[in-house]
Symmetry: C2
Subunit: 563 residues, 2 copies
């Protein structure tokens, strides 16, 4: 018997799973919440007088190490498995989540001298304060006709590596100067296991404009962004990009001590939570789109050919499964919108009614919302509470809800918010199809599908596609374990390719949701109205939504000047 | 010493005030809530299995009689004043609030045979189910080029007398047939006091298309709406319209027994809550607009000349003050929107925070909202939760809110809703001005101004006009008392005209809110965005908002067919 461990570094916690390399059976799971969670108001601990602006989101890298020290030993303790039988470890991470470190990988925020500077900390994927830098990245790329731009749907996100790095340079040049390395947290986490810095092809391809054929954009492009930025790749990053499925190295003595595993155990190069999920949910061929549905949605789709798709996050050759082009698209907030609604907009009466039924508020609202028919509330929303990733690539958009009356009830709004996110998915599906990338069905994983059947049915009805729910409740961690097994190789009881690993280790899919005719018919009438709002507020540079942000920014600037 | 009693029949209760005819001093007030309140889900009592559709709003006429029986005696008991010194009674009412009765004034809903038919009950002003009839009223009037149409801003509301009457005819012809009289609740309430049916010029002019010079529309117009409707004026109404300020009659023996007043006491012809407020808040001349701010807002403005103003509710010669043209405009929901928000959208944490400060939720949210600067929330709304009266005259419009983020807090939404209603007022002010009807300042009365200083300041900042708050907390009741004093006449210790009464009895205005320069500057940037949304969603017959209502209506129709 051989086993692999997969570790999924999420937004709020890290999750480790121990699986059987033969059949993918999950023997144990351990979750370790990050002590400092998402840092979005002020720095943690004694530095809480350092406040962060609205669009900031940081993390503490020590929270990641704590996952190794707490969750992995818990797996071994729970199962009693001999560490010698654990042949490989794989990890996946949110991305782009990045940090500045010294040459030996020490995060700058761990140093007394730098810890009070917010730019010394980990910038989490949903840190959106680098929009001005993203605007510059895009404007300069367009002006220069950079050929890589179309691989990213024509627009680079403020979430990505170059925008975040450039923000450090422009706002905290002393931090940029001190940083020997600027690195994805995914690669940093592998570095902590192996003691050796590696850079994986997935984050490099999807988040840092690297491609297998052309490498990174040229130094002259980076210089055009800022003369000090010219040599960022050579000085702070690396041109040595390692393909997914490679062994990054063996477990270091220190990491062995943290985890209880044997030194030398195979460690896979880092992966991204969404991309690593595809093999875990049986998807290693074109036609099935993976939807990782949680606080946000990430869509992964495979194709035999490259294609230009509006607003996709990226297309990377070998970026998900070797031999295929991996397309990624995304919705910046989904579960987050429902959580916002439940936290901030549900009155005491509804909480009490939920308690009387012995339900949580989400489950209660789902029950109530399920009693409604499509179109019955008269409400329609734009799901842009956290901006829009695909297809508009604009973090500065905001949410919209239209049609409220004095009779409108919370369950109606809750359903309208679910529908809005489903329409958001439909726009993405349509964009892929009109670019010639086929989608036959959607395989859903993440936290939302198992918890919310109404949501799954609405998504099926709105897209007209079958949604199947992945059997694994922890697809990223399982996928990471698969890559751990591949890092070890068949000769040690693992697998020689991720396609092999998926065939052996991915459980068959679970519940299926098929479009229901009469509901779909109403959504076919509502969807064009969604598209009208989408284009009206999202595509017009002078839209009310954009002007509101401009006005807000000038009010905030005036306030800062006064203070 | 002589006294007059004014009785204001509101949406939820009746309010009686006893005032000194010499100086308007308010000696006592008594409020009597309607036992059946607003009937908008099912009929009351044993008939609660009769359900009402969404847009319905009924009342029980016996609740009005209860105000006479409870509130008026309470005034006398509290003050100990000799009923012989009470020289006059005036009343005002919401409008158009109307009911079908027998020839002797018995409401049909009081009869066993009819009580289970919703059309036999009082249709409250905010009953909006007669929109198809209003559409017909407008279409036929436009087609025929009816000259009176422009007096009503080019469009008749579903709230008004002819639409409501036509709804009875079309949906319940048996009720229409049985009704000897179709009458404003205002006139019915005076009938209950005097035993004699009268019809006042204010409701006839503002709600039933009557004018001093031309009378009602012709029978051929009514016939064009429906052949059975041809003689509605002669058969169910009256062409004998009595001007405001007239004595309707003397108190009947029965009403004397109910109220404790002397039989024969002068009773004024009925008035409307908004219009009757003008003299009570010192407004008897052009230039000052009265804003009666409560669940909705009614705007009253005087002019020397008639004018065509987009979407105004009406212009009626002698409709407010004899010798002047009285203009009316309105916003269908204001306080109602804030109440909806507090009831349905404020989470337990905010309720608890309010309680910790010893505040109600409204007051707490106002404190929090006051900490924000204009434009800071990035939110903007359309205040159409109950449709739009002026200037669009479309009850089927819905609310809109744009700009939400995952950080948006309830106090930000609360402020955005206040601002949306202020922008709604600004549109009305602009419409009057561009029609040449000047506005120099606004005199505010009703429930909102005294409770919500932030709201008053926002309204001043948004309109750029000074708002002064009327000193009387109960302007309609005071205004009604003035008309009671006028019905008695100077010879009996009252007054000979409402201008005289206002000069003697209206208290000088209270707190003033002047536009604050820097806030106004931001609102000058936000207002054009509001106007864009307003025109986009309100003026385009194919707007998303209108299509949502169409889809909703077809879903509801399908459901009804299934049931």
């Amino acid at each position: 018997m051989t086993y692999a461990i997969g570790i999924d570094f999420g937004t709020e916690s890290g999750r480790a799973v121990l699986v059987d390399c033969a059949d993918g059976r999950e023997l144990a799971t351990a979750v370790h919440p990050y002590a400092n969670g998402v840092i979005d108001e002020c720095l943690p601990g004694p530095d809480d007088d350092v406040e962060l602006a609205d669009d900031w989101a940081l993390q503490d890298p020590d929270d990641y190490v704590a996952v190794y020290r707490e969750a992995v030993p818990a797996l071994l303790a729970e199962t009693g498995i001999d560490p010698a039988h654990v042949i490989g470890v794989g990890i996946d991470f949110t991305a782009c989540t990045m940090l500045p470190t010294t040459a030996d990988g020490t995060p700058l925020c761990r140093l007394d001298e730098w810890r009070r500077n917010p730019h010394a900390w980990v910038k989490l994927w949903k840190h959106h304060a680098a929009q001005p830098e993203a605007d510059l990245v895009n404007a300069v790329a367009e002006e220069r006709g950079e050929p890589w731009l179309e691989r990213y749907g024509g627009k680079i996100s403020s979430e990505w590596f170059v925008a975040k790095s450039l923000q450090i340079l422009r706002e905290a040049p002393e931090v940029y100067e001190r940083a020997d390395r600027l690195i994805e947290a995914a690669d940093w986490a592998v570095w902590q296991l192996t003691g050796v810095e590696t850079r994986n092809s997935c984050t490099a391809g999807y988040k840092a404009m690297w491609s297998k054929r052309d490498g990174f954009p040229g130094n002259d492009y980076f210089a055009a962004l800022d003369p000090r930025f010219e040599h960022v790749v050579d000085e702070k990053m690396s041109r040595d990009i390692v393909p997914l499925g490679t062994r990054a190295g063996g477990l270091s003595e220190q990491a062995a001590a943290w985890t209880g595993l044997l030194a030398g155990t195979a460690v896979a190069v880092a992966n991204v939570d969404a991309h690593v999920s595809a093999p875990a949910v049986t998807v290693t061929e074109p036609g099935s789109m993976v939807a990782i549905m949680g606080t946000s949605i990430c869509h992964i789709l495979l194709g035999h050919e490259p294609a230009v798709v509006e607003g996709m996050c990226g297309v990377v050759e070998d970026g998900v499964v070797p031999g295929l082009f991996g397309f990624e698209a995304g919705q910046s907030a989904v579960g987050d919108i429902f959580a916002w609604f439940v936290d901030r907009c549900v009155p005491p009466e509804e909480h009490e009614a939920a308690a009387r039924r012995g339900l949580g508020v989400h489950a209660y609202l789902e029950q109530e919302a399920a009693k409604l028919e499509p179109g019955e509330s008269g409400l329609l929303g734009l799901d842009w509470w956290n901006g829009n990733r695909s297809v508009l690539v604009d973090a500065e958009l905001g949410g919209l809800l239209v049609g409220m009356t004095l009779q409108t009830r919370p369950a109606e709004i809750y359903r309208a918010l679910i529908e809005a996110t489903a329409f958001g998915t439909r726009v993405i599906v349509d964009a892929f199809r009109s670019a010639g990338v086929g989608i036959d069905r959607i395989v859903a994983c993440g936290g939302l599908p198992e918890r919310n059947k109404l949501l799954m049915q609405i998504y099926a009805d709105v897209t007209g596609l079958e949604y199947v729910v992945a059997a694994s409740k922890q697809a990223p961690a399982l996928g990471s374990a698969m890559f751990g097994a591949v890092a070890a190789g068949a000769v040690r009881g693992g697998h020689n390719s991720v396609v092999d690993a998926s065939r052996s280790m991915a459980p068959p899919s679970g519940e299926a949701f098929r479009p229901e005719q009469s509901a779909s018919a109403v959504y076919e009438r509502l969807y064009p109205e969604y598209v009208r709002l989408h284009d009206l507020f999202g595509r017009d540079g002078d839209s009310v939504m954009k002007n509101l942000r401009t006005i807000r920014a000038s009010v905030e600037a005036r306030r800062r000047n006064r203070e």
